[in-house]
């Protein structure tokens, strides 16, 4: 199951985006080709956590990996978008894009994901604790 999920995520996150990036690279190779390595790193992070989460499914480690994924993705996004101010040189032109609002949107999604993972971990622990309580015997 972990392998199947890993392959599906790989196709969704790497093969399809790489096709788009390669197509765009024909127009502006200086800009888009530099993002191929970042995309590869992003896919590697996602795949690692998807597979790890799947392999540890049904344990608290699954939720720990989900929390870790959310935190690491937040750091990755901030680094990849250079803090929100992206500066590029392209055929003698200097391009500066202020993507801080875009970055905030991405971080919001990750924060919601982090909150969800924390709640799932709490829920997992509470259900586990409840299942270990002695069952009251009928009188």
């Amino acid at each position: 199951m972990a392998v199947v999920k890993g392959v599906l995520w790989f196709v969704f996150l790497y093969v399809v985006p790489m096709f788009i990036v390669s197509s765009l690279s024909e127009f502006a190779p200086e800009i888009f080709s530099s993002y191929e390595n970042l995309l590869l790193l992003f896919v590697a992070i996602i795949l690692f956590f998807v597979v790890a989460s799947e392999l540890t499914s049904g344990t608290i480690f699954q939720h720990a990996f989900n929390i870790g994924k959310a935190l690491i993705l937040m750091i990755f996004i901030v680094v990849a978008l250079e803090g929100g101010i992206v500066a590029l040189d392209f055929q003698g032109f200097q391009l500066v894009a202020d993507l801080r609002i875009y970055l905030a949107m991405l971080l919001t999604i990750d924060l919601v994901g982090l909150a969800k993972s924390v709640l799932q971990a709490i829920n997992f622990l509470s259900e586990k604790a409840e299942s270990q309580l002695p069952t009251p015997s009928p009188r």
């Binding site: 391009l95 500066v96 609002i101 875009y102 919601v112 909150a115 969800k116 709640l119 829920n123």
Partner: protein
Amino acid sequence: MRQAIRALGWAIYILWLVIIVFTVTAVYSAFQLGLDFGDWQTSTSEGTVTLTLPFSVENNGFYDIYDLNVTTIVRENNEQLLSSSSTVVPLISSGNKINATHNISISFENMTSASLSRLLFYDADLDMEMSFALRYAGVIPLKIGRNFTAPWGAPLGNLTIGNVAVNQYNSTHVRTTLPFSFENHSFFSLNGTVRTEIMNTLGQQVGGTTTLINVPPQTGYSTQFMVLIPLSGSGFKEARLYFDTSVFSYGPVVMPLG
């Protein structure tokens, strides 16, 4: 708690959907922008040379473009600021095309005399910074800039006064002939006058003349100034030239006479 987790899961899906749709449509829209430039036009007025660049922006994307600001900064090689010009287009709606002009004005009147003399007499390369700043889709500020050099042609390039010829005119005066020439390397015409004053070794003006000039761009001009000078005057020391044209007034230019 399960319902809260489920609600957060849905929120994540919806947010991802919004951001993916926005990203795809924004990138697609960016490739649908059309930017065209017309030919540079030049004009002159009182003390100012103006370069006009017509341009049009066609926004065939999904999103409006706000606060398009075209800015050009012109500097001499020594970083002396010559001009800073901006053109602002507040809004380019989706599906619309706007035509605008960007004016770069170089004022000779407010220029320091050192800058003015460099630009009038010597060709140079001017450093230009041109930038387009805009707010794309209302939320993404973008700035695209480019630095380049532009040649500046001196309007009074190779200004020279040749050897002075002196001939007897009458019993009280001599007629001096001064060969005078320059090359207008600039992109504007020089229309106006050149006033010449001949100074003697005592620093006194002993004669003068005023000549009309009309020199098209990229052409040379040469003439001979004829000046009557009284015989009582001492030897010639220098000629002082005063230019009064539609673009600039400058003088004196002191030229020693051989």
